[in-house]
Symmetry: C2
Subunit: 585 residues, 2 copies
């Protein structure tokens, strides 16, 4: 028996196996998932495993090492989150999300830090040796909402899309703030004196860390898209690039002390659209499936490891400090959400209701990120107290809040997610409204969300698509793609029901009627009609739409040294419309 | 900049990225793959990389560590090979393959070992200090044909299926022999005296290592199949089990000093059939795709690493020894193939032609397994000579033999692989012949291949399927599955050409003609006809086939104490046939 030789991969495989089997066992009884969130059960499994290992070895295994967590377990989950991020609600609410993530997190850090420092002044609690800086450092790691925990709970309760994206987006984007504040306070703890310069440098770092992460992510994302242009002959390694480049973006960002989470999200969101168009359908299935599988396993492992690592002798149980930490976490988050939402609602038509505010505050779960950060703290005499407090906060939020949030959502009758996907009609309507709003913003000279979106779309189709897509000349609109997808699905259903016609069976052959009367000119009467007809109709429809749709005016900057505003453009536009109308007549 | 922190995953990712990009680059120019095998080019890339790194660092990176190779790079390739192993030609030629793998390898080991010992006795070469045991040890690692190298070359030259499986099967199954001989000679080298007992124990070990590997593999394979019975509610982690269990089988076998390669192949072949039936279609696409991707990357990495590791100061260039090693490798393999094939051909109708024999001998490529084994040798003063000789043999076989084998195959007009998949008619024919041959073997009392196959199939449907499959009661025959697959493919093609009929378009509605006239009884005239008709026809066909096919007689042992041979069974059979005939009339 030669166990030493295979130990590392063997134990990793066994842990993954345990996680997968726990997941299967959890789903075997249908009643269980509806009562207890999976994360709670997994932590429970971890606690049992940890107890067994601790009983046998007298020390808990170092499974939740912060390196393991940050380098191997977290990236798959964040990649999955970024890749499947619903981009429309995300960008529609980006302002609110950023406000919660940046201002909200800072508010929480300082709120929790200062109030805990107040508690430390109470002589009876014997905590006078915990300095303000240490409290702030602790605040910086305990304040951040955890994406893994939020995802695990919110995926099960199906609240409406906006609420979900607000909490989830915040939990992802606060990483930049957490990284900066945590590192700032940690270096302050080690410095003899703090100059005001250092504080200002800290503020500047926010932007560097966040925007740097976005930049790193986007550049890797576009490189990934560019690479997949050349994989036509070697389809089998296509999925690899999605994983390799996004992981590299994460590692590179971490290497330069930027926000890895922000980088990987930017990378995934940046490349998705182009990669999807370049790689084959089967490669894409593999990418999607494997990403889900990987993040699901990572997620399971994180909760089990959380349980395992809780067992041990790392804790100092000073109950006043621990209890007040939990209370302050709840209070400051609730206050922060109330205040910030007040400002958000003043500037938005579509306000956040008080029910939604409650769920946002209540859904601020803490998880494995805090846990890993607290173990990364430099050694000092009260580290074990911080570890204990963090463990209790995590267990409290995951167990108490995680288990009660579903009944609360039911009780408050929070607006749920719509069950069905939007109809094609709705989609067309939404797109039409986008154009309309871009037009209105254009006319009113307001540089709003739709203006920027339109600008971005123009830049995309003018430059990016030509560089990043293999066949950039005829990118199909999403409506046409949707139509094709529906056709394919319908065909498979027909085939499975055994109703597929093998002969010339297209309805259009039964008579001279066509769906689109404007295509009469293109009807060819030769015998190859049946082969080419429908693509022709499609192309023609696209062409007509492209030719006849009024192109949205590109707006120059409001002030221009060389032209008077509205000098030449309106007349050109009017002419353009006239020409189009003449043509169509 | 904090490179230390991310170094390990970053460098791994970069190596994989390099491998993938090299692969893309290789396929960008269409002419390249037709002239040079990919493996040669990858080694070349590795040599350049190794040169650069060596120039910068003054030492080559430890990328081709034997642990890395055996624990991480080899398993994916072997898993892929086992999972996609064409089982019919493999089992049809299993006897020949085993003969080549076991007897052939032993022949080569002793042949090369003893002749090199002879060379060592020549005073002019200054090799007298290399003992017989060391030569045999070297022979045991250099004799084995390498599956990775064989696969890389043979996948490109498309020889006929039998020839391919003979070389490839040998390269996989000789692992057991190599492991035993290598470990045996290594322990002999360290022992002061060798008793005859030890030699006999070595012979016994062959069976333990090989059969033990099969046992470990099959048990993990069946556990994997059993596990996938319960993944219905959690489709997303299904693909994971295929990888986890096969990797565990490999690691477990390695742990007990059994043949890991044999174990993982047994595991993959054992589980494939059941796993495929249990998991969803998309999961299966992911499994297949990911396996191919992984093995492709592993394969690329192995050849690049081979190149990288060749650069360095590990070599002792004693040219006579090195040249004679290459020559003896060629001669002994050619002789071995000639002698063994002579015996094989005496017992088979379908003989191996002399052209095939030449390709089998010439296709005996050496690769990364030898390379890793030679680095695993215990330190002694001539280790660097062995490393040099192994490197030269590998480069010679991969470059010279690998590059000339394709022209030789063309020149000799070796029978090629058929381009098209067998037609449905052929498949039915083959299956019919199987039944016929099982019947003939049954009648003639010969326990041949078909008898055992039939027996296995019976055991499978009676016990294994009930335990391992989720829905075991109605397993569809492969013909019906093929039909469904073709239907689905056809439907997608129709949808993509835009010819899908949306109305009632089945040809059978156009008239009362049916494909299968014996189904007239089942034609229902109600309006739901169009929905249920085709599945009905299918079910009915299956039912008729199942009812009317003459069940093959299960043969008892040829000698039975309680019954006279052929006592009661013939009359029962005759009766059965009569009843069937009456029914059908």
């Amino acid at each position: 028996l030669d166990y030493q030789h295979v130990q590392v991969p063997f134990e990793i495989t066994l842990w993954i196996m345990l996680a997968s089997l726990a997941k299967i066992g959890f789903h075997l009884y249908n009643k269980l998932p509806s009562v207890v969130p999976e994360s709670c059960l997994l932590i429970f499994v971890g606690l049992i495993m940890g107890g067994i290992i601790y009983g046998l070895n007298d020390r808990s295994p170092p499974v939740m090492d912060s390196d393991i967590f940050f380098l191997y377990l977290l990236p798959p989950i964040v990649l999955d989150a970024g890749y499947f991020m619903p981009s429309r609600p995300f960008f529609e609410n980006i302002g609110t999300i950023l406000l919660y993530a940046v201002v909200g997190t800072i508010w929480n850090v300082f709120g929790i830090g200062f109030s805990l420092y107040g508690i430390c002044q109470v002589r009876a609690f014997r905590l006078q040796d915990v300095s303000l800086l240490h409290n702030l450092l602790f605040g910086s790691l305990i304040a951040a909402v955890d994406p893994v925990a939020v995802l695990a709970v919110f995926e099960e309760i199906h609240v409406n899309e906006k609420l979900h994206i607000l909490v989830f987006g915040e939990s992802l984007l606060n990483d930049a703030v957490t990284v900066v504040l945590y590192k700032l306070f940690r270096s302050f703890c080690e410095m003899p004196t703090i100059k005001s310069m250092d504080v200002f440098a800290g503020v500047g770092k926010f932007f560097v860390v966040g925007l740097g992460g976005v930049l790193v992510g986007l550049s890797f994302g576009f490189t990934a898209a560019f690479t997949t242009r050349f994989t036509k002959d070697i389809r089998v390694i296509e999925p690899l690039f999605v994983f390799l480049y996004s992981y590299l973006s994460y590692l590179t960002a971490e290497m330069f002390h930027l926000s890895g989470i922000v980088a990987i999200i930017a990378c995934a969101m940046g490349m998705k659209r182009y990669v999807e168009a370049n790689i084959s359908l089967k490669s894409h299935t593999t990418v999607k499936y494997f990403m889900k599988m990987w993040s699901s396993v990572s997620d399971t492992l994180i909760f089990i490891f959380l349980g395992v690592s809780t067992i041990g002798e790392n804790h100092e149980w000073n109950w006043p400090y621990i209890c007040f930490t939990v209370i302050f976490c709840l209070i400051w988050r609730a206050l922060g959400v109330l205040v910030l939402t007040f400002f958000v609602n003043r500037f938005h038509v579509n306000t956040i209701t008080s029910k939604d505010q409650f769920i946002i505050a209540y859904g601020g779960l803490r998880g494995a990120i805090c846990f890993s950060l607290v173990f990364l703290l430099p050694e000092f005499h009260r580290k074990k107290l911080f570890i204990a407090a963090t463990t209790v906060v995590i267990l409290f939020t995951v167990f108490v809040q995680g288990m009660t949030i579903r009944p609360l959502v039911d009780l408050l009758a929070v607006k749920r997610k719509r069950e069905s996907a939007p109809m094609v009609g709705e989609q067309i309507h939404i797109r039409f409204l986008d154009h309309l709003l871009a037009g209105i913003e254009d006319i009113s000279g307001h540089w709003g969300q739709y203006y920027w979106k339109d600008k971005l779309e123009y830049f995309n189709s003018k430059y990016l698509q030509k560089i990043l897509l293999r066949e950039y000349d005829q990118p199909k609109s999403s409506i046409v793609l949707l139509y094709e997808k529906l056709e394919r699905k319908h065909a498979i259903e027909l085939a499975e029901a055994g109703q597929l016609g093998h002969g010339p069976a297209h309805p259009s052959l039964l008579g001279p009627t066509f769906l689109c009367s404007s295509n009469d000119r293109t009807v060819r009467t030769d015998q190859k009609l049946e082969d080419t007809q429908n693509p022709d109709v499609l192309d023609n429809m696209q062409e007509i739409l492209a030719r006849n749709l009024y192109r949205i005016r590109r707006m120059g900057p409001a002030y221009n040294r060389h032209t008077l505003p509205g000098e030449s453009e309106p007349s050109e536009h009017a002419k353009e419309i006239l020409i189009l109308r003449h043509k169509s007549l």
